[in-house]
């Protein structure tokens, strides 16, 4: 059970949050090619190491924010 640093509520137990996967940017749907769109839908970097990812403080302030987490050590970078 990780401690997730919510920018508003501080360090809270993982069970209050939902993880929404690594940060991906939604391409402009009108400009994106099919291939780009498929890339956005299904392909992920899936790194072993530091990853920027979305968390939502579901059972708290309901805010979505980005956390940097190390996928091998589970260290989390404290936001400055």
């Amino acid at each position: 059970m990780l401690l997730i640093p919510c920018p508003y509520c501080g360090l809270r137990d993982e069970s209050e949050f939902s993880n929404r996967g690594e940060v991906v940017v939604r391409p402009d749907p009108d400009a994106a090619s099919d291939a780009q769109w498929v890339q956005y839908l299904y392909f992920r970097n899936n790194v072993r190491g530091w990853q920027s990812e979305y968390w939502v403080h579901t059972h708290g302030c309901q805010q979505l924010f980005v956390v940097r987490r190390h996928t091998l050590t589970q260290q989390i970078e404290r936001p400055a």
Partner: protein
């Protein structure tokens, strides 16, 4: 099909001879060979799939100039840490054919490999707790029956007979409405599957190179021509990756992006118990499944962890959730103790079906996406990967599991249709 030149064939008689003759010595299960400069085929990852593919390449295609390159100890990845459920109750014909072939191969695997993999078809019981679940189950069972796979709806009395420990009383928090039994499902000894394939492949001349991590690819004109390892460069005509949870990492070394994320999947065992559970039981409502091993521990699993990780460790909340479900199902296990928990890193595709295909880079092949359920697929997946490597095209059972299906929106999403896991 070649006969396998084992140094010694295993049998009861051989055990007897060895016991009587104290100076006689069992040979090595496999060698520790020196890597050659190059092989016809290099397979990265000595897990179940890598080892099985090497074996079938050598036995069925006569391709014995093969190395399986493993970063740790052979059979130490997910094949060492899975809950050993083997089943073929898949909904779509593409999956059903593929996994039924695997079950068929499992049935003869101990003989094939001359190694007891303890495949035990004790059947799988899935439980339903709402009319909606019952309907979904009926849909699944009817599909299985059409595909020629053993499956039968069962009523509460039958469930109670098979699960004497289950609380099916109306007082239970969720009264069970019924379920279905998949008689050809079962368990096999996970380590034995890896070791059996390794020993047989080795006997056929395959070099298994342990402690030899692949750190990059040798590329020539955009084509993979070998692997760079801790022990130097090893050339290869064709290279396959069968590295499960590490798929994205190895693929990235060749510049290939995969539709895969790696999550932790956990499991745990109880202290050894006198027999209490003869079949495998699964309950979606309880997020739990369990079986009892021949040594007596209950082997228990649940859902995968909700975020990516390479740690082989998971979050306690999943253990908690699985346990709470387990106790609702079997309240009298409350005083039984959890002995050990662990995790593996599973390779999940968006539709949770595997990919067995060429990659966009010439010379590089991939078998991945086995996720939370690839143990059962080892024989069939090994056969498929061997075919792909030998013929440069997938066999009839794996064409659907292509790399480009995502681009074509031709997903094979078993979960979307049925909601069963593992």
């Amino acid at each position: 099909m070649a006969k396998i030149p084992f140094p010694v064939r295993f049998s009861a008689a051989q055990l007897l001879r060895a016991g009587l003759n104290r100076s006689w010595r069992w040979p090595q299960l496999w060698r520790t060979p020196q890597p050659k400069r190059a092989y016809q085929v290099v397979i990265i990852g000595a897990g179940g799939h890598g080892l099985a593919a090497a074996f079938y390449l050598a036995r069925d295609w006569g391709i014995r100039d093969v190395a399986v390159v493993e970063r740790g100890w052979l059979g130490g990845g997910n094949v060492a840490r899975n809950t050993t459920v083997v089943r073929s109750n898949y909904y779509y014909p593409a999956s059903a054919g593929f996994y039924q072939r695997s079950v068929n191969l499992f049935e003869g695997l101990s003989d094939t490999l001359n190694f007891n993999v303890m495949f035990s078809q004790r059947g799988i019981l899935s439980l339903a707790y709402s009319p909606h679940e019952l309907n979904a189950m009926a849909r699944q069972v009817n599909a299985l029956q059409l595909n020629g796979i053993k499956a039968q709806m069962v009523d509460r009395a039958e469930i109670q007979r098979r699960l004497p420990l289950a609380d099916l009383s109306p007082q239970a928090r969720h009264p069970c409405l019924g379920g279905y039994f998949h008689a050809s499902g079962g368990t096999a000894r996970h380590d034995a599957v890896a070791w059996g394939y390794a020993r047989a492949a080795d006997a056929l001349g395959v070099d298994i190179l342990q402690g030899c991590e692949v750190q990059g690819f040798e590329m020539r004109q955009g084509k993979v021509v070998g692997v760079r390892t801790a022990a130097g460069t090893i050339g290869a005509h064709r290279t396959a990756m069968a590295v499960a949870g590490s798929s994205s990492l190895v693929a990235a070394m060749a510049g290939v992006a995969l539709p895969v994320v790696s999550h932790t999947l956990q499991a745990f065992v109880s202290e050894p118990l006198k027999p209490v559970l003869d079949t495998i039981v699964m309950s979606g409502l309880h997020h739990t499944y369990a079986s009892q091993s021949d040594k007596g521990e209950l082997v228990i699993g649940g859902d995968s962890d909700p975020y990516t990780s390479y740690t082989q460790r998971g979050s306690f909340s999943l253990i908690e959730r699985t346990t709470v479900g387990l106790l609702e199902l079997f309240p009298s296990l409350s005083r039984v103790r959890l002995m050990r928990q662990w995790g593996g890193t599973v390779d999940l595709t968006p539709d949770r079906s595997p990919i067995i295909d060429r990659t966009p880079v010439e010379g590089l092949y991939v078998s991945t996406g086995w996720g939370t359920g690839g143990f059962k697929a080892i024989p069939s997946g090994g056969l498929a990967l061997a075919h792909l490597l030998a013929c440069d095209r997938p066999d009839e059972h794996s064409t659907a599991f292509s790399f480009d299906r995502f681009a074509r929106s031709a997903l094979i999403d078993e979960g979307a249709a049925s909601g069963v896991a593992h």
